[in-house]
């Protein structure tokens, strides 16, 4: 019986820690996004960070989504053959890419590539006490460093989503049409059959939420005052990415339920 109470207590404590962490993230985000515009040069900082993150993530997103597109094509071709659904092949493929794969995996790659890098960069600044120096000069590191970076991650994620769609389509095209001999005409003509304008803005809305989550989690992890050594920088980067991945998946589920309805549209 004692063990049961202890398990329940541990679960409760875990839940409270999770809620406390989410609350801390909210406070951090409000502080970062309500103060960053007060500092001079934030537009330059925002532009340079966006370009940097976009350039860092462009190739990883392309190289991740191309095989995934090809993989979709591989399994799709098996279904197409089994049910004789040639007309729907490229339409379903595009639908899966736009609604789910491109926003999800682009955001995942931004979290892994840019998010972890951001945590490491800010964590190193924390170790070198550069944040304290900023505070001494009257600058709030959360607004000055965190704000532009959070916005930059959001912008880069929004820009990378179409790249992910194109890379996925390219991978599927190479696999199905160039290697598999799927009729080119059918692939091209039906590719947009199941996509509506609303799907595009929903994909971008997802990217906005994913980018916001990634930006907040990674900057918060890097600016924590508890980071004191190189080992803790690596640990913080690792922890930030894990939290990003888990929260992105949960947020994706909640967004899908919200956007497409509780019963799947």
């Amino acid at each position: 019986m004692k063990g049961l109470w202890r398990t329940i207590a541990n679960l409760g404590q875990g839940g409270l820690r999770g809620l406390s962490y989410l609350g801390g993230l909210l406070v951090f985000a409000l502080e970062a996004l309500s103060t960053f515009w007060r500092y001079p040069g934030f537009t330059n900082s925002l532009a340079s960070q966006t370009v940097l993150i976009y350039r860092r993530c462009l190739l990883p997103v392309t190289f991740l989504l191309m095989p995934l597109g090809a993989m979709l094509a591989l399994q799709g071709l098996l279904v197409v053959k089994a049910f004789d659904l040639h007309r729907l092949f490229s339409a379903q493929l595009m639908s899966a890419l736009v609604r789910e794969m491109a926003p999800g995996f682009s955001a995942l790659m931004v979290a892994m590539q840019a998010g972890a890098g951001l945590t490491a960069e800010l964590g190193t600044m924390t170790v070198r006490q550069e944040n304290l120096a900023l505070k001494t000069m009257g600058l709030n590191p959360i607004g000055f460093l965190g704000g532009p970076r959070i916005l930059a991650i959001i912008l880069a994620t929004l820009l990378l989503c179409p790249v992910g769609v194109m890379a996925g389509v390219a991978g599927a095209f190479i696999y199905a049409v160039l290697l598999g001999g799927f009729p080119l005409q059918q692939f091209v003509i039906h590719i947009g059959d199941l996509i509506h304008f609303s799907d595009l803005w929903m994909a971008e809305l997802k990217c906005l939420v994913f980018g916001l989550l990634t930006g907040i989690i990674c900057t918060e992890a890097g600016l924590k005052n508890t980071i004191r050594s190189a080992a803790q920088v690596g640990h913080a980067a690792n922890q930030a990415v894990v939290r990003c991945v888990v929260l992105l998946v949960v947020a994706n589920y909640l967004l899908n339920t919200g956007l497409y309805g509780l019963r799947g549209g």
Partner: protein
């Protein structure tokens, strides 16, 4: 570090690591690392796969409305999930949770000159340090793939039966009927190869770390990204080998 970090290419390091594993490694350490990696990654895998399974149900139900909706969606998740999505998610979970931790652990040991000290004392790093970790990831990843399969299917079932409101028994049957032993074994193969690639890339990134605390974060970052990209390529390759698929 002439035996380990002198390999500047992760691919050569991976092949070298696999060859060295054939020569054996410290078994006790390997079991400890397998257990640690599995228990560290399994909870993350469960959460990711559970929600992804549920998400897939919502998407497929909507996309396949004109073809029969939910039950057809259940079958698509059954084979698509077990063949592709859940193994890849498990690989991603191992890369983010364990790969990054391995890279940062090795990087800190390298920066703290602990590896040099061990080598000076005559300790075989491949036998005691690198081999057990690599073997641990290679054993723990397929286990995580199985966990992801179960969690993903269960997530799909919960969403299909209790969120979308389809008949639970029929949905479960439609979910399971397309899954064959070949799919599960293919997933285990994928897991072993994911583990090898993730372990090799992460250990390589950690052993080739630069100086300063930023380099540790950079090594962690590199390990995750390279593991994820290599994982998706390997997934495609194994699917191609197992299922063929070319030729309309």
């Amino acid at each position: 570090m002439r035996n380990t970090s002198s390999h500047t290419n992760p691919l050569i390091f991976a092949l070298y690591g696999a060859l060295r594993l054939l020569g054996g490694c410290h078994l006790g350490e390997a079991i400890t690392h397998t257990s640690r990696i599995f228990w560290r990654t399994a909870p993350v895998t469960v959460v990711i796969a559970l929600f992804s399974g549920a998400l897939l149900v919502i998407q497929t139900t909507m996309s396949l409305k004109h073809l029969g909706g939910g039950m057809m969606g259940a079958s698509v998740i059954g084979f698509g999930g077990v063949r592709e999505v859940f193994p890849l998610l498990a690989g991603g979970a191992v890369a983010t949770r364990t790969g990054a931790a391995l890279a940062s652990e090795m990087a800190v040991m390298k920066q703290g000159k602990q590896l040099d000290a061990l080598e000076i004392m005559g300790v075989d790093l491949n036998f005691h340090l690198i081999g057990p970790r690599l073997l641990g990831v290679m054993i723990a990843t397929p286990l995580c793939v199985l966990v992801a399969d179960i969690a993903g299917l269960y997530g799909a079932f919960l969403a299909g039966a209790y969120q979308i409101g389809l008949d639970a028994g029929t949905f479960w049957n439609f979910l399971l009927w397309p899954i064959s032993n070949k799919d599960i074994i293919g997933g285990i193969y994928k897991g072993i190869l994911f583990g090898w690639v993730i372990g090799s890339i992460s250990l390589h990134a950690g052993l080739n770390v630069g100086t300063g605390s930023f380099a540790v974060g950079e090594a962690t970052n590199r390990a995750i990204v390279q593991s994820m990209i290599a994982g998706s390529l390997i997934s495609l390759l194994i699917s191609f080998i197992v299922y063929g698929g070319l030729g309309i």
